[in-house]
Each structure stands twice: as structure tokens, then as C-alpha cells.
């Protein structure tokens, strides 16, 4: 293959790639960096990923740029986990990774190789809701409900971490979950009740 031909095929590849739009929208400096990279094709490769989500093993392939949140929602259709901001500022995307709460919008899916993920879909036992889900219903811990999956995942972790000993402590350790409807007092009630009931996940 002569040199021109090689360049040609690379351009063709780029044209087909969905990433072209992203490259075109980027600043000229970024586009240049991309064009200069001889191994640009490798950049678009999907890589294998093994995860356990809500007790079920998954063998997947993903692009490196896919966040854990987008993997859950777009690829696995686990849409209980919500995207509020996509920048770590709201907590709607909170899931547990190896038992710890994190913002799935700021974690690349590929960084979670071999890990155990729990999402809101993993809490109920068939039709029987988790006590935290019951408590949110009982105390009216939501209005529109958009922040609720994140609130519930965060609330469970808050108790498990030992940070639910008073209203003030709950407020501080639940501050990573924003509720635009302002259901905060009722959310604190729900967390306190589950805490007092000695429940954990």
C-alpha cells in the first residue's frame, strides 16, 4: 500500500466514525492532535469489560470514553440511575461500586473492570421493596422523583458508613444529592427511620 493510499483509508475510517462529529466540533488544536496520531484507529477500539451488576455477571465491550452511567443507561437499559448534570454536581447518578457510593457520571466504565455494581434496580426483592424505598414512600421523600434513585443509593451508603446519627449529620453526608423539588426534610425523616430500624443494605 503506498503512502497516499494509507492516508486515504484512514480518512475513510474517520468519516465513518461517530467520533468525527466530536472531532469537528473541537478546537483546531485538538483536531490537529488527533490527525497527527498515527494510531488514531486504535483510539476508537472497544475494549472488553467484565462487571457484576446487581448480582449478575456481564461480559461487555465498550469504548474507553463511555462513563459507567452511560453504560448502565444506554447499553444495558438500566435507566433507574439518572443523569442530572453529568458533571458530579447533583448525585442523581449515584450507584455503589464494591459497596461504596460514587457518582457514575465521572467514572469511566472501563475503570470498573471486575467490580460489583449495585444500582437502584438491585434493591427490591421481587415485588418487595427495600426498607429504604418503603421509607421514602411513607415519608413523601420526593415530588418529581428524578433525584430519588440517587438519594436512595446515597442514603443506604450514608447509614452503612455510620454517618446517619443525627439530622445534622445526615444533612451533611447527604449533601452530594441535590433535590430541585426540595424534599430534603422528608428525605432526612426517611433515612432516620431506616437507621433507627437497624436496617442496612
Amino acid at each position: 500500500m503506498d503512502k497516499n493510499c494509507k492516508n486515504e483509508s484512514r480518512r475513510d475510517f474517520l468519516k465513518k466514525s461517530t467520533a468525527l462529529a466530536a472531532l469537528a466540533a473541537a478546537s483546531p488544536a485538538l483536531v490537529k492532535a488527533g490527525e497527527n496520531d498515527e494510531r488514531i484507529a486504535a483510539l476508537f477500539e472497544k475494549i472488553p469489560l467484565n462487571l457484576e451488576i446487581n448480582g449478575k455477571a456481564y461480559s461487555l465491550t465498550v469504548e474507553p470514553r463511555v462513563t459507567l452511567l452511560d453504560l448502565l443507561r444506554e447499553q444495558l437499559h438500566l435507566t433507574g440511575t439518572k443523569k442530572g448534570c453529568d458533571y458530579g454536581q447533583c448525585g442523581a447518578c449515584t450507584v455503589h461500586v464494591n459497596g461504596k457510593r460514587i457518582n457514575s457520571c465521572l467514572s469511566l466504565a472501563v475503570m470498573n473492570e471486575g467490580k460489583k455494581i449495585t444500582t437502584i434496580e438491585g434493591l427490591a426483592d421481587g415485588d418487595k421493596l427495600h426498607p429504604m424505598q418503603d421509607a421514602f414512600i411513607k415519608h413523601d421523600g420526593f415530588q418529581c422523583g428524578y433525584c430519588t434513585p440517587g438519594q436512595i443509593m446515597s442514603a443506604l451508603a450514608c447509614i452503612n458508613e455510620g454517618h446517619a446519627n443525627s439530622r445534622d449529620e445526615i444533612r451533611e453526608f447527604m449533601s452530594g444529592n441535590i433535590c430541585r423539588c426540595g424534599a430534603y426534610p422528608n428525605i432526612v425523616d426517611a433515612v432516620l427511620e431506616v437507621k433507627k430500624g437497624g436496617q442496612s443494605s
Binding site: 473541537a26 485538538l30 475503570m111
Partner: protein, 326 residues
């Protein structure tokens, strides 16, 4: 987000080598700052080197202090018994940062390397010398409520946003670094730099180097406080923060270290105020006098002029809370 090549490094050397082979690459640790900036197009590395498998997660006692690995998780360091008992100032600073979720992801090295939250740095349609050298500083004549009052230049008035770093500056920590030319250690207060005419450089880490950890020397600070003032009670960056560590001999100050956050391009140590306080009694008058000395070189840029009034009060308040006067 533009796609990139992703690799996992299994040793410090492999990580350093992987970066050397691709200078437009970056390390990724917790991802909480880097992924944010990549999504917004502020940065676009062509290769991410995942360093989470490196054996740098330790929080261990050494003969002269404590050694914290660059990959130790913020929440774990904050809640570690050794840290809570011997370096409560650091625990307090961690607990004041970000949210429980983010602290579960963020690492010590990543926290040191986090970029400014200046809105002109984030907005790629705006001039910003830090993001695009030579384009100008949007904040200088613009919305600069969050910006620096100490050590800024006419090229950049951004502040370093970390809470952890303010405590580490006050505690005289040392940074351990590894790179293509070997290992080195530098004082924490020399790690971050002032903007001068090169605001694109946040710190003195050289090309290809990796932070491996932080060492905090033993101390006798028996009175500590981290005061953080922000726009809401939690989950917000500091307008101003004050880390105060004092060694008290009954009511006389034997030693005191004070550092401020939210006021400069780096954690701002207040050595003049410290010198003034040594040997003095812990009183409101002495603390206010020290705060006055600390403010001598302060300068406002308009929207942030309120910090000129708030800062001395915050310094006094933090010292008073630490020593139990209030």
C-alpha cells in the same frame, strides 16, 4: 468526549514510561476532575493511563510521621484512625471537600493536581491564559467573585480549589515524586506555584513525572481547626478557608502554622502572622493583629473585594475556634 486510548499501568515505572511514549496522554486516578474537564473540551488527552492498580494506597506510620500514597482515597484518609488522632486538621479539611460520593472516588494525587474552577477556564468560548496561553484573562475585568486576593498576576487571578492542600501546606508536608529522571521530594508549599507569566502551569511537577505520595512530619499541634466559608453549608468550593494548627503551652502559643484556601493560585501560608503569634497568648486581640499582618499584601479585583473583609475575620475566627476561645 473525544475518544482516547486507554491503558492500565501495573507499576510506577510502567506508568511513567507509558506517559513518556505519549506526551499528549494523562494519568487518570479517581477521574472526578479529569473526566469533567474532558467532557467540557477543556482538555483532550489522546491516551489515558489508569494508575489505580499501582501500589500507592497506603496510609502508614513511619518513624518521623505518616506516609500517604498518591492513590489513597480521600474518604479513607479522612476517616483513618491514625489521621484522625494525629492529623485532625487533615481529616477536617477532607471532610469539608466535595461530597461523600466524590470523596469516595478522589485520590490524594488527583486532589493535588485538580485544576482551578474559574469559570473562564471552564468556558472554552472565553479567553483564559491558563487554558489557552496568550488568549487573555477573562476574570481580570470580568466576574471574579471567586478569585484570588493574594499573589495573582495580570495574566491570571484564578485560585487553587483544594481543601486538602490547604491542610497539607499548614502541616509542612513533603511531596514524593517519581519520573523519567528518578525520584525526588519537594516541600508541599513548593509544589503549587503562583501564576506569574505562566498561568498554564499550576505546579512544579515536570513533564512525565508522577506523584507517588505525601509525607507529613510528626507534630505537637494540640489545637487545630479547618474553617471553610462557602455559598452553601456543604458541597461547595471555598470562598475562603483557613487551616490553623497550634502547639499551645497552657495559654501561650509555642508554634503555629496557618494556611488559607480560596485566596491564591496555591495554598497561602501566612508566615508573618505565624511569626507574630509565637510566644504570645491566645487572645482575640492577638489573633486579629496577626490577621491584619497577613492581609498586608492582599488586593481585590472588584467582585471579590468582599474577601478583603472576610479573610481577616476568617483567620481570627479559625484561630479562636482552634484554641477554644469561642
Amino acid at each position: 468526549m473525544i475518544n482516547f486510548e486507554y491503558i492500565r499501568a501495573s507499576s510506577v515505572k510502567a506508568a511513567v514510561d507509558a506517559l513518556a511514549k505519549n506526551p499528549t496522554g494523562k494519568f487518570i486516578a479517581g477521574g472526578t476532575n479529569l473526566i469533567d474537564l474532558m467532557k467540557r473540551g477543556v482538555t483532550a488527552p489522546t491516551r489515558l493511563i489508569d494508575i489505580n492498580d499501582l501500589p500507592l494506597k497506603q496510609v502508614e506510620e513511619t518513624t518521623d510521621g505518616i506516609n500517604i500514597g498518591a492513590l489513597a482515597i480521600n474518604s479513607e484518609v479522612s476517616e483513618n484512625e491514625l489521621i484522625k488522632n494525629n492529623f485532625p486538621l487533615l481529616s477536617m479539611a477532607f471532610a469539608a471537600g466535595a461530597s461523600a460520593q466524590l470523596r469516595n472516588m478522589a485520590t490524594v494525587g488527583g486532589n493535588m493536581m485538580q485544576r482551578t474552577r474559574c469559570s473562564y477556564f471552564y468556558d472554552t468560548t472565553m479567553p483564559c491564559n491558563k487554558r489557552q496561553p496568550g488568549s487573555g484573562c477573562g476574570a481580570l475585568q470580568g466576574h471574579n467573585r471567586m478569585h484570588a486576593i493574594f499573589g495573582a498576576s495580570d495574566k491570571c487571578i484564578a485560585v487553587h480549589p483544594s481543601d486538602m492542600c490547604v491542610a497539607l501546606a499548614a502541616l509542612n508536608a513533603t511531596v514524593s515524586i517519581s519520573g523519567p529522571k528518578g525520584n525526588r521530594k519537594i516541600p508541599f508549599t513548593d509544589f503549587h506555584r503562583l501564576p506569574e507569566d505562566k498561568p498554564e502551569l499550576d505546579n512544579t511537577l515536570q513533564k512525565g513525572e508522577i506523584i507517588t505520595g505525601v509525607l507529613i512530619p510528626k507534630n505537637n499541634f494540640n489545637k487545630n481547626h479547618y474553617l471553610k466559608i462557602r455559598d452553601r453549608a456543604s458541597y461547595a468550593f471555598a470562598l475562603i478557608s483557613v487551616a490553623a494548627a497550634l502547639e499551645m503551652d497552657v495559654d501561650t502559643i509555642k508554634k503555629v502554622n496557618i494556611a488559607m484556601g480560596g485566596v491564591a493560585h496555591k495554598p497561602w501560608r501566612m508566615t508573618e502572622a505565624e511569626k507574630f503569634l509565637v510566644g504570645k497568648k491566645a487572645t482575640r486581640e492577638n489573633f486579629s493583629k496577626a490577621a491584619e499582618l497577613a492581609m498586608k499584601s492582599a488586593k481585590g479585583y472588584g467582585h471579590n473585594n468582599f474577601k478583603l473583609k472576610m479573610a481577616p475575620i476568617a483567620i481570627t475566627e479559625s484561630l479562636m475556634i482552634a484554641t477554644g476561645i469561642v
